[in-house]
Symmetry: D4
């Protein structure tokens, strides 16, 4: 950021351009990072690892740590984790890294970073083990936005007894994210049993007709109980939406 | 049929051709009616009303009554019902007609017709009132094939209590046909609660993405509990499949 | 309901069956009405007018008024409105009816009915006049669930100035429902400008490839800003989801 | 399981929760295994190998052997077979393993395990060699459910003589599973020649328009002879459905 | 045509433009009619009735009769038939009209018109009565191109005996057009039984998934016996293709 | 084959079964090979290499050479070529092998094999170099069926001059196979310029919407000039259809 | 507009709001009309008749005439034409109306309205008569934006001679809009023959697979010659795009 | 080329064929290169690297350099770059090569080659870093056609401020190519803010429903502001279309 201001001082960049730059985004060689996104829209900026080289991910993560004290990366693979680790070790040696290899996310934070803390709880519910990846991504971003997370796993409708056993815990949450693949019936069943808002998260399991999460998505859109829905495997989006609702609930507590 | 035999006698039709003709089908001006289908494949021949004129339906129904003692018509509209009624009144005045206006089927039988009687019960289950048409068509053909029918209506998953209340009745059936539209979750839920074979029958309700029964169909194909499935609104096919299973069960009792 | 209890007294219905019946649903000839749905899942039961005869709609509306003091009907046409009006005039002459001909909903309430009142505001935003029907349906059910409604109309992205003019009003809401047809870009743009949860409501406008709301739906599911989404034209579902969020916000105020 | 009971004793888990746990499912680190699924719904619980690590497959197989005396794994690859073999060798050294490399299933059983034995025969029919994988999966689960299996291979409709040669054998079965890829005409042809229930099993062969089994699936759903259908390559589901029908037939013998 | 030549004489139209005009097409107010199409590509120009007003159809038919001695109209409705009849009565009172109301085609010819006569026979085969419309259109154009037509009707695969009875007649044709709706298996079965080229003609019957002829089309494209295919209901195209093959066969006789 | 006859002699196989076996097909461990397909339906049996192991391909090729004097393999990869070469070297050392690496086909023939010879010529036309694979497959099978082949390459519509230059050569053929990918316009253009039957062969080029040959296929099905069509990349099918037409033409010469 | 200014004067509307209002849009009861759209984006605001009542169309047309001196309505039906005629007769009696019944557009202008005049020519090309509606809509808006229009009709690829005859006229245009339905090959062919930018306009003709313009659209997107494309039947969009290009060309002349 | 002329001299090739050859295309073993495409249609011939071997790419590039002084290759991988480099070093050692590894294009030019120079500027706009590949391809071909290129990157609608900051720069261009993936809203937003023609370039980002650029494509086709569109990732086509427009603008300056 200093570089930009010095460029202004040197007349290389006009004040108008600098203002635009400072109003929202920092530029590294690997793209722009929207440093003020959180203050503007309540959503922490995250870096999507898919389709970027390890070096690009590391450069964006460095900018994120530098400008906001935290880097959130989703869909990250091991080589990019190594690259981020090395880069951050250089430029922010006091930062701590958390990495969930299965759910494929990484969060780096500086010691001075203060995560928001919301007085609201989000339930993250899965039908089976194959829902773990998007559900894990959702739970991570809910936590980074400051809400408490309750995990309720393996309550798929094939064994309805499990689902019904969990009803009291489900009713205690402020918002529910319900992940399910194949026919995706779980969010429909849950929404008929509770009185809290349910966000359906379709998961890309299943083969043949309606596979890759398409049957789950269309089933949730057609649900005879009221749901809102995100795209297939869009755990990040489901988590952000739940986090925004948690912010509204917290604001009034 | 006499015409054919006389044509053989007259040398106009070869005995070989006559044999083929008599082995399976009677011809009227409106098409062929497969009079021996039931003995060959266990399935009563039925006349699909859709896309035929009232006169064509009536001609085929007349041939059916004449050759097998019974006419089954599906997807029939009021004008065709009238045409059949008049035709049958002429040629088989002792025949009785049953017509289900809502489920759109008609069955005409002569007094001498003996419906098969199977020692097996088929449950026909619906999620809501809009499933009544294909479910009614299924129940009719199950009955015509000789099995007992138990209707279990309005047990949709939006109110899971209704579904669970019905479990004992569902477990008492030999086979279940479960109809559902929109997200089509009911057969999945039922199949997880019972130990009898379940045939999923998707219904063409719902609008938007996955509407017209497509979400229900793909959800049933993707079900995490084991189902077999028929096409959207194919109540006749579901009923025949349940009837064939009932025949196998009966044969062993 | 009295009939049921008398049937129990007469031994025609077991207490167990009666309990199930009373726990959640009343039965009329036209289907079941889930009278306790609101207490169980926070969602008022509504009657979908599409695909029902005027007589069926009226019978269900009568049951609804009788058991809950209110009938909500969506996608209702004029003949069914007349039928409801006549039936309600008979059985609940003091009831008042509101009918929105354009948005095709009807609400009947008895004088003693107390609508819930939530301390939360839902913004209902449209891109153009053709979004009025689902947006109106959404606004109605939000109101019936007790939240305040703010309408922000005609802020489509073709004239970005209109959208930006509305930002302050949009930021003042607790939740936003944003309706848009054709390419459906409005919810994406709005979600980038505010910090409240946005529910995207795709509308079935547009012809050719991606028409009937399919482009709007897939665009909202792919949005580069975080949204949750409902099916095409599913104003009722969007409204219920916003209402459930409003209930959570209210509970904490 | 002992851990759970001790946790109850220690007051860490309530009896109610323990009851639920014991009523239906055992938990390992790799997910839950539904140990009572067979008694509840007549379907042996199986482990889907696809998308699980060898270690996860092995852990679930171990739990399965421990709680039910048998582990069934479908879509298993060689490394997972090795992992299961090693794990089972440790914890149940007397167990025997059967592995079909081509059809990709593995079954492990302890000496004390008693496979059910049903007095019913299921025919598993293929159109060509590429149908072997799902047909083999179907035949395995039919056998594990206790029915006899008759294989009728390579009777594709391109050489109708082969199909007609097989008719007598086909008519002798109690139920038929008919697998076919490409245009999937075989189940339609077979169902016209026999009087037993036919379950169509579409296979993911074929390229271009309608490839990957989509033409076969839609053709079977549209069949002019009565079939029920499972999803593309869903040999396990077809086998379970046939097994459930066989159970009904056996129960009456 | 005289008008054009006079316009050339008058200098209003250049000889070059006139040459282009005369090389291939005549212009009426209702569009251009390609009068030399038959000599150029062997295909008689036909007028598609769908989407044209009766007056437009009549004007084009008049041009056709005037320039080639014959008008062929497909997908024609009764009002357009009347319009053609009146127009032709005026301008070519000696012309004869043939109209097939069911298959919706009309052919008008002047007494001097000489239909080509080919020494080749085309079999037109149907699976059921609902295939009659496109099959009739195909048979008409085959006849207009000069080949002999053999109709083989109602040989659907649900009763394989009928199909097999017809094999000898099928093998006697030079080319076969085989029409079928729903799952469209008939052309596949026929092509396995004969050694003549088969053109599959999918018909828009069937509802639900794969309905409107889509399953038939994709099944024919995936056929395990060699077929070429035309679009759903494209009887005219199938007939022209068979006619062109018949021309080649005739040329060598 | 001797094994079978000896099994009959030994009473292990009934004469009836043997008759069926000999009537059409020889069995190796890798599946059945339909040895009399050519005499029955005019189409030489071919082995599809895709999805088979080299050993399976070699075993089927051996059976083919043994029973018919020729093996035709399509979509074959180098390892399978090696396997066939070795197997044939053992069992039929005098056989000759031709392999087209680019078009991925292999033909092995014994010295005594007599390829049919038809007095007819098939033109195989391509729009660009990426059409070479299916066009090459088509040309091979046309040749094996005995017709002469004329290749006309690189006449894509982007440079219409090339197409028009080729018209005379195109008009000289008895049948045309026209391959094209992307928008697939070439067969439409060619069919407007010639008076011989055209078979459209869509090729799986192109990315994005309509890619993988789907736009080419649907364009050919919608062609405003009369074509018949085969599936995407189905060069074998196109070639067989052209070969069958050539047989009809030859029969009359 | 006066009302707004008076509301400002009265303190009922803030100057800021008024500024926004005046910057771009006028509000009638039937929706907003974007009066400054033309000055901002170069595109005249048009009223889409589809889905609006005659009264709504008339109210918007009145606002358009009042604020910009011109009303453009597309997809208008006769009753709405009458309503506009009456409304305009009242409020702007000197205005003139042009209505193209076939292409379904209406333009009303006041005597003082000055249509822009651009020194650029746009060719509007059609393949057949069924392309007339979207082509007419395109030609109208090109004209209203001020460019000259050259119509080149009936040059479909079925008769390539017609297309080639037209090449010189096509090469003389500054931009071409080429409309085509069914397989949509014409824009591909034209773009290979000229050196001016071509905008492909797919038309919703054709039935069966790829019908309703889908094959034409995907073929144009896949074209082997460079095109840009608009949606099916989107004549207005094609015309505006050509008009914007004409403006750029004119600006430099 | 000399070879051809000598073949003519030798009587091996007719003058007519030679004329055709010279009128438009040069032939190498790897296919034809359309050397006069640029003079005929204004579009430089380019070589698509995808699906060609390095040797084929190099042979075509050699022909291109030889006949036109320039070779343009798109979608080229490193091995093909090496092959081209070596071949060109042999046959045109003075040529210079430019290679953009990220956007995957290569341009080789001889010293004597004169790139056209147009007095027009094309803006190439991206929403994010993942749009770089097709945008880079578009910018390259615009440059090779002679227009100036302005890059405006990272102005995605998630941060509307960035977009609005760029408006003045966008309005200064003669034509805009706007690339965007996921929901593809950027071209719609930009076209509402400027008065120059906008070409939408959908990019194959995004997963789940509407992924791979399908949502972006359908959204741009449905845009409520006027756009023309190219296929997903078709940067080359977008660039050529912009270049053709630039040529028209230049011609009038």
């Amino acid at each position: 950021m200093r570089d930009l201001l010095e460029a202004v001082a040197a007349g290389e960049v006009s004040p108008a351009e600098a203002q635009a730059e400072l109003a929202g985004y920092a530029t590294s060689g690997a793209g722009r990072f929207d440093a003020t996104r959180e203050s503007r829209s309540g959503v922490p900026e995250a870096i999507l690892g898919d389709g970027k080289t390890p070096a690009e991910v590391a450069a964006l993560a460095e900018t994120a740590v530098e400008t906001t004290g935290r880097a959130i990366v989703t869909r990250i693979e091991a080589p990019a984790v190594t690259a981020v680790r090395e880069t951050v070790a250089d430029t922010a040696p006091a930062a701590t890294l958390r990495w969930d290899e299965r759910a494929r996310w990484l969060v780096a934070t500086t010691p001075s970073f203060e995560r928001p803390s919301l007085d609201a709880t989000v339930g993250v519910v899965t039908a089976g083990t194959s829902d773990a990846v998007p559900a894990g991504e959702a739970a991570m971003i809910v936590g980074e936005m400051g809400a408490a997370v309750t995990r309720v796993d393996d309550v798929g409708v094939a064994s309805m007894a499990r689902t019904i056993d969990a009803v009291d815990r489900l009713r205690d949450q402020d918002v529910l994210i319900v992940a399910a693949g194949r026919e995706g019936a779980l969010p429909t069943v849950v929404a008929g049993l509770v009185d809290v808002p349910v966000i359906g998260l379709p998961v890309s399991t299943g083969y043949g007709h309606g596979g890759n999460g398409e049957a789950a998505l269309s089933g949730m859109l057609q649900s005879c109980t009221a749901l809102s829905v995100v795209n297939v495997d869009a755990g990040f989006t489901a988590g952000v939406q739940a986090g925004l609702i948690a912010r509204q609930i917290d604001a009034t507590r």
